[in-house]
Amino acid sequence: MFRSEEMVLCQLFVQPEAAYVSMYELGEAGIAQFRDLNPHVNDFQRRYVTEVRRCNEMERKLRWVSGELPEPPPPPKPSPRVLTPREINILEERIDYIESEIQEITKNAQNLKTDYLALIELKLLIEKTQTFFQDHSAHRKISASVQIYNNDGALGHLGFIAGVVATARVPSFERMLWRISHGNIFFKQAQIDEPLKDPVTSHELQKTVFVVFFHGEQIKLRVKKVCNGFQATLYPCPATYKEQQDMLAGIESRIKDLEMVLEQTEQHRRLVLANIARDISTWMVVVRKEKAIYHTLNMFSMDIVKKCLIAECWVPRCDLHILQKALDNGVKASGSPIPSILHHVPTLEIPPTYNRTNKFTRGFQTLIDSYGIASYREVNPALYTIITFPFLFAVMFGDMGHGLIMTAFAAILVIFEKKFAKNKTDNEIWNIFFGGRYIILLMGIFSVYTGLIYNDIFSKSLNIFGSSWQNVYDEGTLRNYSTFELDPKDAYTKTPYPLGIDPAWQFAANNIIFLNSFKMKLSIIFGVLHMAFGVTLSVVNFNFFKKAELIFLQYIPQILFLLLLFWYLCILMFMKWIMYSADATDNALGTSCAPSVLIIFINMMLLKESTAKGSCKPFMYDGQEIIQNIFLAIAFLCIPIMLFGKPVYQIMAAKKQKRGGVEGGAGGAGAGGAGGAAGEALGEALITQAIHTIEYVLGAVSHTASYLRLWALSLAHAQLSAVLWQRLLKIGLGGGSPVNAILLYILFAAWAFFTLAILVLMEGLSAFLHTLRLHWVEFMSKFYEGQGYAFLPFSFSVILEADEVDIKEKPNGGPPE
């Protein structure tokens, strides 16, 4: 965690037979990042493309089958070992067989359902048309003429067609019929009340029964064409009541038969599917793993004599034995006499950055990585972030009550994490909270602590140890004045409140002024410490990367600049706190003479005279002016060192090298050219260094000021929660009438809601973002490079997870033709 792991570039020579098993083991272990050795080869021209395709095909079939399952299949069993190619073949055949079997069954079921639908439609049609024929006298006439037509074709001229059409298409259907017949038809419709089921998609269908009466053979043909065009299903419908009854009875019995057959088919299908459901997830995993292996194998290059595969991969040095073991196992499994060869390649390439994390540190590492992946082996700020992040957050969020809510929420997430982790969701917000559960937990705990220091619980103070302030007035005075002054000389008991801020300040009119001064100073102190720590971390980097000169050329001037100016400011604060008090005997150290630290600091920077009024001294201690001027001089002397130190050192180093080169007889012409190049490089180095220096010097001021956000947010948080208390809950708590009880009931709900939504959630989020900024900008800019790239090992668990997400996003495809 302190630095990223040491990585080794390995070259592997593997027999093709052994490669598969070895890759399987490596995929399980997830320790090696393979490099693509044929980047210029198209996807489809690679060696194992047929295998990949076969896996794709199997995956598609499995996906289709699992789409047919009535309920999601159980999670996969852990498959203990690698499948041999023979077993894979068997699996493939099995999947093929299952797919065709299910297709067969589905097709049969669909046919049956189509028949069933037709029968149901016919039944409904007859039932509905009966009313058409019966309930209206005009209809009776029609039905009479229909009878005539049916009994004796020569006499009547009225024919009719009955059928069923989708309800949505009825209006245009009717219009079209009317148009083609020039108004010479009679159209009658009735909607089917309960929706029918489409046999293929099993969507619901709204259908309408219709009967068209018309005149003449010509129109009949055209009506039929229109019906055809609108996908209406036509049914033969008998015209007389008796025939209808007979037909209905016949249909009823057929429907019953069909229902039975349908049920049996359905049962058979369910049985078959249930058999598969147990294994399908496992197979899916096997197939996906297989695909991933072949994808990786595609990145290998082939030896010229086609005897073995060559792979290159990054591996953490301490995991080399796992790699070796995987290779050995592969050879053992394949039974080939030639062992796989592992061989370290010295390289100038920058290795990937790999920080081993656990579930606790992962969240913090993510915070750092989202700024930029650390350069290879540089100091990893995530380690310190574990404490500084929640702490700085809590400085802004300090409130025991809100902290407890946050802690409780995070604690639930942490305690039941296994359960939560198991049922994954797509809910992004939830996943963010869950991923950062340990951060939230620490933030909560720290907030409780700072709340204790600020003595704030839902904006109220706790008087645990008894206030150190006492009442010095008698009854009468207390009665006559609403506010009165407590002079620390008399009212203060001389023993400070043991922990945090005295509860007496809760009622003080100057509460905010007092807290502001306190929190402002506090945030500057924390800020300077935090930055100084960041600057110091750069020493660790210089040391590790063997750039000792930079300690003198960069670190020492930087830290001197910071400490002499800004830490001196903090020292003045401490001095002010300690030296000045209300009961000082020396008048110059009394309350009225306490100097403004800020003014002193500004005077120091501007080299102005300090003036004092009355009996006060202009300075806090003897010789302060001289010391301050010396500090200032040293600090400003540091700037040229920062500016020119590194480039000058580089020139000197280059010259020394050149001299060595000339002495060694390297030749003049080449050296001259190199000199020109060095000159350009120097210019560039100077500019870069100038930018860095200006950034640091200005940054020291602006970053220090930036830490004031600790104070500002903390103040805002405290004030908001005070407002909520006063404007809502206090109204409910005041007064003794029963009405108040009801009022309290409502107001408490409002108060609780706003506390949760605004104070805990929104304020928490804003404090989180500000803390993140303080780390990314103010802290990490002092030492962090962040120019690395992440280590992405070939790992089954990662691949399977990514696939799962893919599947969820993609709707399941239709059945194959």
């Binding site: 996807d43 489809f44 598609r60 289709w64 064409k225 229109v226 055809n228 609108f230 399941n812």
Partner: protein, 348 residues
């Protein structure tokens, strides 16, 4: 001024459309595609592009028609999405685009029924963007008048059809004339509509539609040689919104052979260039391909301006060209006929 308020209604869709446009295959993609040995390779390569997994659920072996269908399906989904989110006047504009597909569908269905094909076989061949409710009942009609009265009167195409109403029976020749008259009316109406919208839309779209009109006029003329179509009838079919109008069209109406058509085109700089480059020898591009290329250039240029509807039209046309390209390459791959595989029309 138009530009300022354009984004209120159409800004999101324009952005979306420009995003879609970035998914159009580049020259490098085509270079990869033409190297494919089988359709499976093609599928694998398309997976790496914006098409993603659109063929993932198709069983092997793939056929060219499946690829074609899937390509079209994807395009249609995108277009429908744009259409569903649009408001006036953009929705009318998008509707106008679909009318040309409707015309094609109607002609396809009538021709099919003339050749005694069952309607259920024809419907899947229709372009889904041009489908309308009464489409399937189209075989009721035996004459153009019936076609109008029974089927088309309820569709948006009705105003375009007014010129074609006659009591003649539908036959091959008739249908061709109906198609071209419909197209003429449609193009002129679309041109008017774009002009009425004004602003950049008019600038861009009128340019494209004028070219479309001229192309039709030229193609009609060339195709009419050796048929029974009289010169007067032919002149009636020319859309009158192009750059050839009126002098060029008058000259075209008098043309008797290809050389004369070419002579007419000489007067117009952009068209003469197209005729120059075209030839019928092996290895030469046909005139049709030349026209397609010019169309692609015009459509690509539409993306150079902002705040206008032309991008939607251009996107659809470019994407269609891309589908044609992919299908062409797939055909070449499937039939192992690689000599002409490079005859696709690159877009970017």
């Amino acid at each position: 001024m138009k530009g300022c308020i354009f984004n209120i209604d159409a800004g999101y869709l324009e952005g979306l459309c420009r995003g879609f446009k970035c998914g159009i295959l580049k020259q490098s993609d085509y270079l990869n595609l033409v190297q494919c040995e089988t359709l499976e390779d093609l599928k694998l390569h398309l997976q790496g592009t914006d098409y993603g997994t659109f063929l993932a659920n198709e069983p092997s072996p793939l056929s060219v028609s499946t690829i074609d269908d899937k390509l079209r399906e994807k395009l249609v989904i995108e277009f429908q999405h744009l259409r569903n989110h649009s408001v006036e006047p953009m929705s009318t504009f998008l509707d106008f685009i679909t009318y040309s597909y409707m015309i094609d569908n109607i002609i396809l269905l009538i021709t099919g029924t003339l050749h005694q094909r069952p309607i259920s076989e024809l419907i899947p061949k229709c372009h889904p963007l041009g489908s309308f409710e009464q489409m399937e009942a189209i075989h009721v009609a035996a004459t153009p008048a019936e076609l109008y009265n029974a089927v088309l009167v309820d569709t948006p195409l009705a105003p375009f059809f007014v010129d074609c109403i006659s009591e003649q029976d539908l036959d091959e020749m008739n249908i061709e004339i109906i198609r071209n008259t419909l197209y003429k009316a449609y193009l002129e109406a679309f041109y008017e509509f774009c002009k009425q919208i004004g602003g950049t839309t008019a600038d861009v779209m009128c340019e494209i539609l004028a070219f479309e009109a001229d192309r039709r006029a030229i193609i009609i003329t060339i195709n009419s040689f050796g048929t029974e179509l009289s010169k007067d009838d032919r002149a009636k079919l020319y859309p009158r919104c192009g750059k050839l109008n009126p002098d060029g069209l008058a000259a075209l109406a008098r043309a008797d052979d290809y050389e004369q058509v070419k002579a007419v085109a000489e007067y117009y700089a952009e068209y003469s260039a197209l005729f120059e480059g075209a030839g019928n020898n092996v290895g030469d591009k046909t005139l049709e391909d030349k026209f397609f290329e010019h169309e692609v250039t015009l459509n690509v240029m539409a993306f150079l301006q902002q705040f206008h509807f032309g991008v939607f039209y251009s996107y659809l046309k470019l994407k269609e060209q891309e589908c044609r390209n992919i299908v062409w390459i797939s055909e070449c791959v499937a039939q192992k006929h690689r000599a002409k595989i490079d005859n696709y029309i690159p877009i970017f």
